[in-house]
Symmetry: C2
Subunit: 160 residues, 2 copies
């Protein structure tokens, strides 16, 4: 099977899942209470969405392939860590909203806004699925970059 097809498939699915996550968070309202932190995540994930496509576009171009492979690799790394970090932060926030924290006198909220919290939970699952796919995409871009190099000498190109 062609690596380019696999990569395109993985990237499209990651982008769709990120979009689903953003929609689930953005369209989630149950009352006048607003989860400010979760809103911030929507915004950041939409940024990540753009980068997933930019990286794909660059990886696909011809000419001075090695530099584009480096750009694609570094961009992929950035996107996957931003998406993963924001997702983890959202999980931490959600766990606190779910269970509260007695030591801090922080009350729990999800017993009051059940449907809202379920939707956020779905968004987080979808976000992690997107992250898993992006990790795969990152591996493929690492593969595309590093196989250009010699297996004997450090950072020496194969053609050199």
């Amino acid at each position: 099977m062609d690596v380019q097809k696999i990569e395109a498939f993985v990237r499209v699915w990651a982008a769709l899942l990120l979009l689903l996550t953003a929609c689930l968070v953005g369209l989630d309202t149950q009352s006048k209470y607003i989860f400010y932190v979760d809103r911030k995540i929507t915004y950041k994930e939409l940024h990540a969405l753009g980068s997933v496509f930019v990286s794909r576009y660059l990886g696909n171009s011809k000419g001075s392939y090695r530099y584009l492979a480096w750009v694609s690799y570094l961009l992929d790394q950035m996107v996957v860590y931003i998406a993963f970090g924001t997702n983890s932060a959202a999980v931490e926030h959600s766990v606190l909203a779910l269970s509260g924290m007695k030591e801090f006198q922080w009350m729990k909220w999800c017993n009051k806004f059940t449907r809202f919290c379920f939707q956020i939970g779905g968004a987080l699952v979808s976000g992690y699925a997107a992250c898993a796919l992006m990790v795969l995409a990152t591996s493929i871009s690492a593969f595309n970059l590093f196989r250009l190099y010699s297996s004997e000498k450090f950072l020496r190109l194969k053609s050199a």
Copy 2:
């Protein structure tokens, strides 16, 4: 410069920084209030610490090098995402402790326990520095793995 030396250098520093993070969090007490979530992170980071060395050890062995390179790569990926995810969750928790959250009626705590919060802040900075080094180590292990493969055909070994 030798790639093995760079890799060893990066891994030792990442491990030291993780250890520093764990110590900063673990030895941080200012009163009877305990940050349960931050304690959990200590525990997970100590796990990560072990894996940093395991991965180094495997990457260094001889014989059936390709399989060991795969194990090293996958282990590195796991460790870096676990450390990064827990660190991001801790940052989210710390931001909430620092600023509180009016919408949830969650009060801020860091104005009451200033020294404690500064130490946690230092731990988080050290944790992120360790993550950055581990990302570098992961790139090196990806390099060591993928340069074994042919640059023309997908997942075909060079020697084949």
